[in-house]
Amino acid sequence: MSEAIKATSALEGFASTGFASVRECGLTGMITLRGDLADKALAKAVKAATGAAMPEQRKITMGKSGKVAWMSSDELLLVVDHAQAPAIVEALTSALKDQFALAVNVSDARVMFEVAGEGNGPREVLAKLAPVDLAPDAFTTGDVRRTRLAQVAGAFWVEADGSFRVVAFRSVAQYVGDLLAQAGATGSAPEYF
């Protein structure tokens, strides 16, 4: 049993088309970082890992090598290159060894989807599934929201091009993929926004 095990994302190749299209994003590095978000050393370590500044409450910041999402008052989600994630966790751990902080590579415990499409299509898909005000002026680029998607926990944000990124637990990847695909089906656009 000496062959290397090839990493695969939760629903490799999953895609659907409709008024908004859904695609599983493939291998994505995701790191949960918990600690004192006001700490300077923590902010510096996050910047070194992603190039992104510390996000404000419920915001996501973009850097040249990653994104940083505010998940709670003591938790961040770092979205980075999948192959780089283990090294980034090591760097964070050593930079924060003197504090009450924890960095964990959760890449393979999560799934990420892209919901893309014309106009406000992608936001209408999410509005069908989450109890969140998704009006264009209420939720915009730079915001991140942890909520539920129908019956399971999930989080999402908007990219600059208007497409959404949706993160959920790997164990419910098929459920979330099917949810998004069905909510985006042709002919079912509410055209509310």
Partner: protein, 107 residues
């Protein structure tokens, strides 16, 4: 529908994003307490028709616990506040009294 403002992450969410955790500000009676005290801790609740103090968790959100003061009859929420308190803060009491002048804090 019950709408709650999570004081931990600032989200205004509807009930399904949260999970109720029962009556707030219970005093725990543990080892060496009398049977009556322990029974009271486990089972005795105010269960009022009106102003009630409750624990809630932002389960499908930031994951934090917090407290809420609300009316069990109208679902009106007077305030939500930190879980790290042993009793409702003065501003929460004031917010309740402003809406329910006849209400008194139960003993």
């Amino acid at each position: 529908m019950l709408i709650l403002d999570c004081p931990c992450c600032g989200v205004r969410g509807e009930e399904t994003e949260f999970h109720g955790g029962g009556e707030a500000h219970l005093k725990r009676f543990g080892p060496d307490s009398s049977d009556a005290e322990f029974e009271g801790y486990l089972f005795t609740r105010q269960n009022p028709k009106g102003v009630n103090f409750e624990r809630w968790r932002h389960a499908n959100g930031c994951g934090k616990w917090f407290h809420a003061a609300r009316c069990t009859m109208t679902l009106e929420v007077f305030a939500t506040y930190s879980a790290q308190t042993y009793e409702p803060p003065a501003d929460v009491i004031a917010a309740i009294k402003a809406k329910r002048p006849e209400w008194e804090m139960p003993a």
